[in-house]
C-alpha cells in the first residue's frame, strides 16, 4: 500500500474547506447573475471571487492528494483539474441559468471516472484518489466558470438563452452600429486559453511553493488566494474588451484590494513561520561607478 508522508496537523479539516469552497463558489456565481436581473455589468467581479473560493478549496485537495506521493509533481494535479474541468465547463454552458449545477455534476462524473481509471486500471491504489480527482474536476470547472462570468459579465443572458452564446458573441461598432462578432468574443478570441492557464497556475502554485516539513495550512491557503487575486486582476484587464469599462475597473479594484490584503497577510505568515528573516534591501546604487 502507499505510504502517507505527511498528515494534516491542526488547521481546518478538509471537509470544511470543501463545503465552504463549493458553497461560496456557487453563491458567487449566482451573485454574478445579478447582472442579468438588474441589467448591469457591475456585479461581474463576483465571478472572480467565486473562482478564488474554488481555487482555495482545490489547492487543499491537491495537498490531500499529494501527501500520498503521487510521484508526478504538483503541477500535474493542476493540469488534470483544469483539463477535465474545461470539458465539463464548456458542456455546461449550454444550460443557461443552470450552468453551474450542470458543471458540478458533469465534472464530478468525469472526475470520478478518471479517478477510477487512475486508481484501479493504473493500479495507483491511493485511498483518496477518486474523491480528489472528482473534487479537482469540479474546482477546475467552477473556477473557469467564475473567471468566464467575470470577463463576459454573465453566464446566462443572450437572445438565444444560453451561456455559450454570450461567450461566443461579442460586438463590434461599425459606423455607430453595433454588429455581432464571433471573433471578438470570449471563446472566439481564445481568452479562455489564457484563463485556463491563469487558473491552472494559481491552483497548483500554493502547495508547490509551501510544501515540505514547514507546511502550514493558513500560509498555503493565503498564497493561493493571493495567486487567485493576481489571476483576477489579469482577467479584469481582459474583460475590458467585453464588458463596460466601469465594470472592468471595479473588478480590477476588487482584485487589487484583495491581492494587497492577501499579499501582506502572506508575508506576515511567512515571517511567522520562518526561522529567521532578513529584510534584504534593494541593491544600493553605488555612487560614482
Amino acid at each position: 500500500m502507499s505510504v502517507k508522508v505527511e498528515v494534516i496537523e491542526g488547521g481546518v479539516p478538509h471537509q470544511k474547506i470543501l463545503i465552504a469552497g463549493l458553497v461560496l463558489a456557487v453563491i458567487g456565481l449566482y451573485l454574478s447573475y445579478l447582472n442579468v436581473i438588474v441589467g448591469t455589468q457591475m456585479f461581474a467581479f463576483f465571478g472572480g471571487l467565486a473562482a478564488i473560493a474554488a481555487l482555495v478549496w482545490g489547492s487543499h485537495t491537491i495537498k490531500v492528494l499529494a501527501s500520498y506521493g503521487i510521484g508526478t509533481g504538483v503541477p500535474s494535479a493542476g493540469m488534470i483539474a483544469f483539463g477535465s474541468g474545461v470539458i465539463a465547463f464548456l458542456f455546461a454552458t449550454k444550460y443557461g441559468v443552470l450552468a453551474p449545477i450542470v458543471a458540478i455534476v458533469l465534472a464530478a462524473v468525469i472526475g470520478a471516472i478518471l479517478g477510477y481509471l487512475a486508481n484501479e486500471v493504473l493500479s495507483m491504489h491511493i485511498p483518496v484518489m477518486i474523491k480528489s480527482l472528482t473534487e479537482m474536476a469540479v474546482v477546475g470547472a467552477l473556477s473557469l466558470m467564475g473567471f468566464s462570468a467575470m470577463i463576459t459579465g454573465s453566464f446566462a443572458f443572450s437572445p438565444q438563452g444560453s451561456f455559450i452564446f454570450s461567450l461566443t458573441t461579442g460586438s463590434v461598432k461599425v459606423l455607430g452600429m453595433s454588429l455581432p462578432s464571433y471573433q471578438s468574443s470570449y471563446i472566439g478570441g481564445a481568452l479562455i486559453a489564457t484563463v485556463f492557464l491563469l487558473g491552472a497556475i494559481a491552483i497548483q502554485h500554493g502547495f508547490n511553493a509551501c510544501l515540505g516539513p514547514g507546511w502550514k495550512q493558513d500560509r498555503m491557503l493565503m498564497l493561493v488566494a493571493e495567486c487567485g487575486f493576481l489571476s483576477m486582476m489579469m482577467c479584469a484587464i481582459m474583460s475590458v474588451a467585453l464588458i463596460s469599462l466601469a465594470a472592468a475597473i471595479l473588478s480590477f479594484i476588487v482584485g487589487l484590494l484583495g491581492w494587497y490584503y492577501t499579499y501582506t497577510k502572506y508575508i506576515e505568515l511567512s515571517k511567522r513561520d520562518a526561522a529567521a528573516w532578513l529584510d534584504a534591501k534593494p541593491i544600493p546604487e553605488v555612487e560614482g561607478h
Binding site: 500535474s76 471516472i113 487512475a118
Partner: protein, 279 residues
C-alpha cells in the same frame, strides 16, 4: 530523495487488473452507445478519431524521458521536469503546428503535428544534454541498462555512485523524439476531429454562416484538445509514477494499462466535447 520521489506508491506491478479493465471496457462501450444514439455516424467517426488520438498520446508519454526533480539535481536520467510540463511543451507545440496545417487535409496536418512535437522534444533533449554535459559537467549514463540498446555503448562506467544515472543517453534521446512525434500526432488528430464536428454543426446551432463561426470552432476544438491532452498525459504519468528513462526502462512495459485508461478517458472527454453541439 525529494518530496517527489520520496514515497513511491505501490503501483510497481506491470500487470493488468482484470476486473477494473472489464469495467472500463463496459464504460467505453456505453460511451460509444450514447454517442451513436445522439450523434449518429458523424459523432461516432469523430469519437473513434479522438480515441486513436488519445491512444497515441498515452503511448507517446511512455517514450519521453521524464526525469522530474531528481534529474534537476543530476541524480537520475531524463529531462528535469514533470510530465505535465513536457506534455504541454512537446505535445502542444505539435498541436499548434498541426492546427496551422489543418486546412491541408487530415494526413498533412497530422504529419505536421507529429513533426512539430518531435522537433520540440528533439530541441529540448538536445539542450538538456548540452546543459548537463557542458554546464554541469556530467556524462550521459543510464541506470537501468548495462548497454545502450541502440548504440551498444557501455553505461555503468559513466554512472556516478549513489545516482540512478544522469543525462540523456542516446536511447532516451530517441525515445523523447518518438514520444514527441506520437504526442503531436495524437493531439492534432483530436483537434481535427473536433474541428470537423464543429464546422459541420455550429452554423446550424448558432444560426450563422460557416465563415462567421470559424473562430468559435477553432477555439473550441483547440481548447478541448488541450484539455484532453493534459488529462491523458497526466493519467499516463500516473502509470509510470512520475519518472521514466525512455523505452528501455522496465516501467515502459506498463503501457498496456495506460492504453486502456487513455482510451476510456479520451472517449469520455470526447463525448462531452461532441455532445456540446449535438444535443
Amino acid at each position: 530523495m525529494s518530496a517527489l520521489g520520496g514515497a513511491k506508491p505501490a503501483g510497481g506491478s506491470t500487470g493488468i487488473a482484470p476486473v477494473p479493465t472489464l469495467i472500463s471496457l463496459v464504460i467505453f462501450v456505453i460511451i460509444f452507445a450514447i454517442m451513436y444514439m445522439y450523434g449518429g455516424s458523424l459523432g461516432v467517426t469523430a469519437l473513434i478519431g479522438i480515441v486513436i488520438g488519445g491512444l497515441l498520446i498515452g503511448f507517446g508519454v511512455h517514450f519521453v524521458p521524464v526525469g522530474g526533480a531528481p534529474a534537476a539535481m543530476g541524480q537520475a536520467p531524463g529531462i528535469a521536469t514533470g510530465v505535465a510540463m513536457l506534455a504541454a511543451g512537446g505535445g502542444l507545440a505539435g498541436l499548434f503546428g498541426g492546427a496551422w496545417a489543418a486546412s491541408q487535409g487530415t494526413l498533412v496536418a497530422v504529419v505536421t503535428g507529429a513533426i512539430g512535437g518531435g522537433l520540440m522534444l528533439a530541441i529540448t533533449c538536445f539542450f538538456v544534454n548540452f546543459v548537463y554535459i557542458y554546464g554541469m559537467g556530467i556524462p550521459a549514463a543510464s541506470g537501468k541498462v548495462k548497454k545502450d540498446p541502440i548504440t551498444g555503448d557501455s553505461q555503468p562506467e559513466y554512472k556516478s555512485q549513489g545516482t540512478e544515472g544522469h543525462g540523456l543517453p542516446f536511447v532516451s534521446f530517441v525515445g523523447g523524439v518518438i514520444g514527441g512525434i506520437l504526442g503531436g500526432a495524437g493531439g492534432t488528430l483530436i483537434y481535427l476531429m473536433l474541428l470537423d464536428v464543429y464546422n459541420a454543426s455550429l452554423p446550424g446551432v448558432m444560426k450563422a454562416t460557416a465563415v462567421q463561426v470559424e473562430p468559435i470552432a477553432v477555439s473550441l476544438a483547440g481548447m478541448f484538445a488541450i484539455g484532453m491532452f493534459l488529462v491523458i498525459a497526466v493519467l499516463a504519468a500516473y502509470n509510470i509514477t512520475g519518472t521514466i528513462e525512455g523505452p528501455h526502462d522496465p516501467k515502459f512495459k506498463r503501457f498496456p494499462r495506460a492504453l486502456i485508461a487513455s482510451a476510456v478517458a479520451s472517449a469520455l472527454c470526447g463525448v462531452a466535447a461532441i455532445m456540446l453541439v449535438m444535443v
